[in-house]
Structures are given as structure tokens and as C-alpha cells.
């Protein structure tokens, strides 16, 4: 029977990674649409979200079914509960991308704001975190998962920096207030994506080490 459940778990992980891959692409496209003021790309991101929603439901149903049928314990129990949580996190990540895309479309109505922060490098950082969180899941790499927390604090610093810059920018140029707030929200969403990647990392750490590191100080 063990083999049977194992193959089911593998299939589940495959689906989860597929969903993660879609979310990664969504993130890339959403940020690209912000940078290029590309309304079409943003629209596409919003459409793709339906797939992710559907996948989320599927994975959750599958998890519940497996738990009900196999009453797993130990690693398998951790794996299934973790899958449910990661599933939720990825879906929220995709939702954040949709929010970014919505803001992009809104931004098109306003004149472009002069670049005040290096959006691309922050995005690269966050994309790296998302990718690594999924890699950590695939490779059961607890160290990689744990490091994400340190990397997230870098993102937070960026965010605070951006906040201050934006404040000074808007006090200089009050006519850009709508555009500036849109940017603030976009950054806020990006920062949340980073948090979600950290959440995934924490779940992976729990899966591999069986130890909860949420709400603990970074060593």
C-alpha cells in the first residue's frame, strides 16, 4: 500500500509544482506589464488566474480524499497538510499577481511616473525567493527553505526604502498622487509575494525537519 500512496503523493507534488510554475510566470508577466505599461499582458495575467483557482480546488480535494482514505501518519501526514498550506499560499500569490495586473491597467490612465526605485532588482529578488521555495520543496532542502527568511528581510528593507522615496517624491510632485498610490500598492503586493514565499519555505522546513519555525526569531 505504501507504494500506492507514494505514487499518489508524487502526482500531487507534480500538480503543486505545475501550479507554482504558473504563479511564477504570472509574477514575471505582472511585473513586466508594470514596467512596459502593457495592458494586454496584465489582462492575460488576470485570465490565467482561473487556471490556478481550479488547480487549487483540485489539489485540496485530492488532499482531503487522500487523508480520508489513507489516514496518513508521520511524514505523509506532514506532507499532505503542508501541501494544503502551500497550495493556499501559491493561490494567494497568484491573487497578488492579479492585483498587480489590475493596478497596471489602472496605471495606464495616468502619465508615467519617473522611476524612483529599482523595481526590476526587487522583482528578481522575489522571483528568486519564489523559485527557491519551490526548489526547496522538490529537493526537500531545509536549509534553502530557512534562508528565505533572511532574504525576505532584504525585501522588507527595499519596501521601506521605497516608501520613504515615494513620500518625498509625492510631496514634491503632488499631481502624481494617484499614480504614486498605485505604485505603493504594487510594491505592497510584491512584498506580500515575498512573505508568501517565506511561508512556503517554513512549511517545507516543517516537512523536512518536523519543526515549526514560524513566529520564531531568525537565528
Amino acid at each position: 500500500m505504501q507504494h500506492y500512496l507514494e505514487s499518489e503523493l508524487k502526482a500531487l507534488q507534480h500538480q503543486l509544482l505545475k501550479m507554482g510554475g504558473i504563479a511564477e510566470n504570472m509574477l514575471r508577466d505582472a511585473v513586466q506589464s508594470v514596467l512596459n505599461r502593457d495592458g494586454e499582458l496584465a489582462q492575460r495575467v488576470i485570465v490565467v488566474d482561473d487556471t490556478v483557482d481550479k488547480l487549487e480546488n483540485e489539489i485540496e480535494a485530492q488532499c482531503i480524499q487522500l487523508i480520508a482514505r489513507h489516514q496518513p501518519v508521520a511524514f505523509e501526514l506532514r506532507y499532505l497538510t503542508m501541501t494544503m498550506k502551500i497550495n493556499r499560499n501559491i493561490e494567494r500569490m497568484a491573487d497578488k499577481c492579479v492585483s498587480i495586473a489590475r493596478r497596471t491597467i489602472e496605471l495606464l490612465e495616468y502619465p508615467p511616473l519617473q522611476p524612483f526605485v529599482d523595481l526590476q532588482s526587487v522583482t528578481r529578488l522575489i522571483q528568486g525567493m519564489v523559485k527557491d521555495s519551490l526548489d526547496a520543496l522538490v529537493n526537500r532542502n531545509a536549509e534553502l527553505a530557512r534562508e528565505l527568511r533572511a532574504r525576505d528581510s532584504k525585501v522588507n528593507t527595499f519596501y521601506e526604502q521605497m516608501y520613504r522615496d515615494l513620500c518625498s517624491l509625492l510631496s514634491d510632485q503632488p499631481q502624481h498622487i494617484q499614480s504614486g498610490l498605485c505604485h505603493l500598492l504594487i510594491f505592497r503586493h510584491l512584498e506580500r509575494v515575498g512573505d508568501l514565499a517565506v511561508n512556503i519555505g517554513e512549511e517545507v522546513y516543517y516537512l523536512v525537519e518536523g519543526e515549526v519555525i514560524r513566529h520564531t526569531e531568525i537565528a
Binding site: M1, Q65, R69, Q71
Partner: protein, 256 residues
Amino acid sequence: MQHPINAPILYIDDLNVWYGKNHVLKNLTFDVFPRQVTSFIGPSKCGKTALVRCFNRLNDLKSDFRYTGKIQFNGVDLYASNVNVTEIARKIGMVFHKPIPFRKSIYDNVAYTARLRGIKQSLQLDTIVEDCLRAVQLWDEVRNDLHAYPEILTIGQQQQLCIARALAGNPEILIFDEPCEQLDATETPKLEATVQRLKSQYSLIFVTNKRRQAARVSDIAGFLYNGELIEFGQTEHLFTNPKNKLTEDYVTGRLG
């Protein structure tokens, strides 16, 4: 209920069974579909065994057995007067709650059923024995002791041998009547894996009083209580969202 678009292999309509004055099964109506594992769960003495024994007519051995209703196998009434009982028993194989190897060599145990089918050529028997033992993943373990007595095998292996013996009769349905009762914890998963493998070729009916096991192995599950079929449907529905209070109590372990 979502069933594959397929004719039912067993069709049971309003089945009532009595042992003497004891009304053991009450108004059962359900279908069994091919290439699926249909399990029956329920506390002991709820009529699970009596039910499956109706299918291969083992109940005929009881002098006070009486029934009403309809049982059709591939569209033919199982209890019609022109039905060949031994033919039915071969088509609907059965594995019992404890392994019952005959006092013969391992080879002869498996060949027994093939010989009952009328196969006499030794070459043909050899291939049947090998195929059946491979199907239950016992071949590699016993290939050098084919002519030893089954006592050298563990209980789990003996049970696998009994499955192989039933397979040699070329059955369409295979009934497992609490097959893991005597097996220990390490041998049970092996048997369950065998059940999963056999699913692609046979229709399996799995009786168990371990609800977890039914949840693991079956596609369709029925819950029997005091001779009544309380609920019958997809296993995951039965275990995640049972419609009946009794079923809920049973699958959660509050009952029985």
C-alpha cells in the same frame, strides 16, 4: 453516483436472506461494476459475509438458508435452476478470512483450480501456475520450492497463494472475505497492493471490518448495519461526507 458507463457485473435487487428464523439481510439493492473494488464495511455480524456468500452460492451449504429477491451475474439469475453451481463458484472466486492452503504442494494448490477447469496438459498448467503466482508477486519467492508444502510459507504468503489459486480458475469476480484478519501489520500492505494490481483485470469485492482498509483499497463502498445497506457509494464520499448519521458514526469510530 458516478459509475463508468458499463453494465453491472452483479445486479442485486431487493435481496432478503434468512438463516432459519434469523433475517440477516434486509432489502438490499445495489450494483457491482467491473474493474472496481467494491468494499463492504460494517461491525461484525452485520451480514457482510452472508451477503458475499450469496454470490458464489456458498450459502447453499446451510440447510436453513432462504432468500427472496434477485441476484444477477452478467444478466443471468444466479439462483436459476439451470445454473451450474460449480461453474458459478469458479467464475466468482473467493479468498477467506484465513489462508486455507490444501494439503498439496504449492504447485498443486494453484494447479488444483486449473485442473477443475479441465486443463490437463502439464505445459499449460505450468504457465498458468507461473502466471497466477506472478500476479500475486509470489513467484520469485517460491519458484525454487514449487513442490514443497505450503507450510513453509508465512501466513501472508499463504494468503497470496490462496489468491493465486482462485485466479487459476480464471474468475470474473474475486471476493475477499476479511482477508487480512490473520495477517500481521507488515503483510497487510502487500495484500492491499495485490488487490490494487488485480483491480485492472477483475472485479473485486472486499469485505472488511477495518474501515481504514476499506477506505484505502476500495473505489465503491457500502456500509452494512444489522443486515441493512445503510449507505452505498463512492468511497471518498462515504468517508468524507457520509449522508447517513449511522455511517458517520461508524466511519468516525463512534459505533462498533
